[in-house]
C-alpha cells in the first residue's frame, strides 16, 4: 500500500466501526479528494458521513469543531495546507482553546487532515510547510507520518486521542513508497519519535518528506548516523532526542519549512537548554530558505542529499 491507500483504508476501517466519524471538506465526496485520499468513501458511507462542503476553510473547520463538541468525531480535510489560513482564527482561538476556556467541560476530538510540503511543483501556494504555526499553538497536537505504516498507526491513534490533532500529510510521499500495512487496527503512539536508523556518530532529527532523503544521503555515503523520525511535532519526544544526542554529541535537524522559527529552532533550543555539555559541535539546521516557495526552482528550494551531506561533513569535522 502507498500512503494514500493507507490513509484511505484507515478512514474506511474506523468509519465502519464508529458512526460518529464524519469526513468533511472540498471535493472529498464524489471526486474522492484531489489526491484521492477519500476515494470511494462517500459511495460507501453516504453524503451524511462524507460531506462535500462549500468553498470555505473557515466554515469547514468551524463546522467540524461544532460537531466535535457535540459528540461526533469529525475529520475535516483542507485541500492544501496553504489554504488553511482563513481558518486560523477557528484553529487558534476555538479549536486549541475550547478545552481550556471551558475547563474541560467541552472538548474537541477531531483530526484535521491536510497535505503539506513540496514535491509536486506547486509553487507558492501548493507547497507550504506551515507546521510551525500549529506547533506554536498550545492546545494542538501535531502529527506527520513519513510512510504508509506510520500513517495508518498515527491516524488511528489521532482518532482516539480526544483532542484536536493537526494531521499533516507529506504530499511528496503520498505515492512514494509501497509497504505492507497490517489489516488490523494498530496505533503508533502520539508523542513518540521513531528511530529510522541506528548510528553512533551523529544525530539527524527529521520528519515527513525529508525522512527518505536523509536516509538515502547517509546510507549512500556510509554515515554512521542515528536518524530520528519525529512523527509527532507537538508535543516533541524529548526522551528519544536526548538519548541520541547524549550518545552522538553531534546534531542536525532537517526540514523543508523555512529556517526561521521552523521546527529546527525549537529542537535546537531544547537541546542546548538541557544537554549542551554533551555537544561536540554546533547544532546545525538544513531547511528550506526564508523565502516563499518557488515553482520552477523547487529542486533548489528543497533540502537535498548534497546539502545534508555538507552539514554532516561540517559536523563530523568540527572540533
Amino acid at each position: 500500500m502507498n500512503m494514500v491507500q493507507a490513509i484511505n483504508s484507515t478512514l474506511d476501517m474506523k468509519m465502519a466501526a464508529d458512526d460518529s466519524i464524519i469526513l468533511l471538506g472540498e471535493d472529498i465526496g464524489k471526486d474522492g479528494g484531489v489526491f484521492r485520499v477519500t476515494d470511494g468513501l462517500q459511495g460507501k458511507y453516504g453524503q451524511q458521513r462524507v460531506i462535500d462542503t462549500p468553498l470555505t476553510e473557515l466554515g469547514i473547520v468551524g463546522m467540524a469543531i461544532g460537531m466535535a463538541v457535540y459528540g461526533l468525531k469529525p475529520v475535516p480535510e483542507i485541500q492544501f495546507q496553504d489554504f488553511i489560513y482563513t481558518a486560523m482564527d477557528q484553529i487558534i482561538n476555538q479549536m486549541a482553546k475550547m478545552r481550556y476556556r471551558t475547563a474541560g467541560k467541552i472538548t474537541v476530538p477531531l483530526v484535521l487532515r491536510t497535505p503539506y510540503g513540496g514535491g509536486i511543483r506547486g509553487g507558492l501556494y501548493h507547497s507550504q510547510s506551515g507546521e510551525s504555526y500549529f506547533v506554536h499553538t498550545a492546545g494542538l497536537t501535531v502529527v506527520t507520518p513519513s510512510n504508509p505504516y506510520d500513517a495508518k498507526g498515527l491516524l488511528s491513534a489521532s482518532l482516539d486521542l480526544g483532542d484536536p490533532v493537526i494531521f499533516l500529510e507529506p504530499k511528496k510521499l503520498y505515492r512514494f513508497q509501497k509497504m505492507e500495512v497490517p489489516e488490523n487496527d494498530y496505533k503508533v503512539e502520539i508523542g513518540k519519535a521513531r528511530k529510522a536508523r541506528e548510528g553512533d556518530s551523529i544525530t539527524i532529527i527529521t520528519y515527513g518528506s525529508m525522512v527518505p532523503t536523509v536516509l538515502s544521503a547517509v546510507e549512500k555515503n556510509g554515515v554512521d548516523a542515528d536518524v530520528i523520525d519525529l512523527m509527532t511535532l507537538s508535543p516533541l519526544d524529548i526522551g528519544t532526542i536526548s538519548t541520541s544526542v547524549k550518545k552522538t554529541g553531534r546534531v542536525m535537524i532537517v526540514h523543508e519549512a523555512p529556517r526561521t522559527l521552523g521546527m529546527g529552532a525549537e529542537i535546537s533550543a531544547m537541546i542546548s537548554e538541557r544537554m549542551i555539555e554533551y555537544l561536540y559541535a554546533p547544532i546545525l539546521r538544513v531547511t528550506g530558505p526564508d523565502t516563499p516557495f518557488p515553482y520552477r526552482l523547487e529542486d533548489h528550494y528543497l533540502p537535498d542529499e548534497k546539502r545534508i551531506m555538507d552539514a554532516v561533513d561540517k559536523l563530523l569535522k568540527f572540533r
Binding site: 464524519i22 451524511q48 460531506i51 462542503t53 462549500p54 470555505t56 473557515l58 466554515g59 473547520v61 468551524g62 463546522m63 467540524a64 469543531i65 461544532g66 460537531m67 466535535a68 463538541v69 457535540y70 459528540g71 461526533l72 469529525p74 482563513t86 482564527d89 477557528q90 482561538n93 476555538q94 482553546k97 475550547m98 478545552r99 481550556y100 476556556r101 471551558t102 475547563a103 474541560g104 467541560k105 467541552i106 472538548t107 498550545a138 492546545g139 497536537t141 486521542l161 480526544g162 483532542d163 508523542g191 508535543p235 516533541l236 524529548i238
Partner: protein
Amino acid sequence: MGKKEVEKMTEVINEQVEKEKHIRGFGAMILSRTLDKKIITAQRQGRVGFYTPTMGQEAAQIGLSMALSKDDLLYEYYRDVPMMLHRGVPLEIVLNQVFGNRDDLAKGRQMPSHLVARDYNFMSVPSPVATNLPLAVGTAFAKVYRHEPGIVVASFGDGSSSTPDFHSAMNMAAVFNLPVLFFCENNGLAISLPVEKQTKTEIWKKAEAYGMAGFKADGNNMVEMYRVAQQAVDHVRSGKGPALLEARCFRMGPHSTSDDPSKYESDIVQDGSDRDPIVVTQNALKAMGLINDQLVDKVKNESIRIVNEKFDQQEKVPPPDPETMFQDVYGNETWIIKEERGEIL
C-alpha cells in the same frame, strides 16, 4: 368531559401558561437589570475587573428565550446574561465567572462576561465575535445526525454580521438545511460604529442572500419579541431550514466598562426612560392586565435583595489556585507543561 370541553380546558390552561411565561420573562428582565447595575457599580468601585453591560437587550433576549424549549442549545455571546438567567442559570454561576474566582466553572480563565454554563445548554463564549456561528452549524448537524430534538441558536451583535464567520456559517447552514436560528441582537452600535456604517442593508434581509428565511422583531418589547421569535423558532423547528432573526434593541450604556461612549454617541437610551425596554415591556404587560405596580415593586425589591446577597457572598470566594493555570490544555498533560509548571510555581 366531551371533546369540546377538553379543548376549552386546554385553551384555558394554555392561556394561564402563557400568562405565567410572560410574568416570568418580565421577572428575569428585572433581575438581570438589577444584576447589571450592581456589577457596573461594583466595577467602578474596583470590585470587578471588567464587564459588558447588557442593559437594553433584556426584552430581545428573553422574548426569544420564551420561545425556546429545554432541548434547544445556545451559542451565546458576551451580552447574553439576561437570556442565561431566564433559562435558569443561577446567579452564582454568573458571579463566580465575573469574579473569576475559585468556584468559577472555567477556573477564572476568561474575562468577565464570557460564561460557561454547559449544563444549561449554553456552549461558552470566545471573544472574537461571531466565531461561534460556524460551530452552531456543526452542532446542529450533530443533533440532526443523532436524531435529537431541539434547535441550535447562535446569537451575535449587528457588527458581527460583517465577519467572515457570519458568511460561512449562514451559507453552510442553508446549504445543509440545518436547524440553526441565527439571532442578531442589533443594538445599533459596534463599540463606536453605528450600524448604518457597518452595512448598507437591514441585517434580517441578508438571509435572502443565503436562501434562508429572515425575521425582524421589535426587541424592545418582550411581548412583541416573543411573538416574532416564536415564528422564527417554529420555522427552524419544523425542518424548513435555518433562519435569521434580527431584534432591534438598544445598548443603554457603554460598550464595556472600559468604554467611554461620550466620545462618539449622544443618543444613549436612559435607564427608566420611555424607550427603555423594561418600561416598554412593563407598560405592555400592564395593558394586558398581567402585572401591576405593586408586583413590579415587589419584584424589583426582591431582585435587589437577592443580587446584593449573592454578590457579597461570591465576592468572598478566593481566586483559583495557580496550579489550575496549567490544567485542561490537553486531556493528558504534556511533559512540557509539567516542566513549565515546575519552573513557575
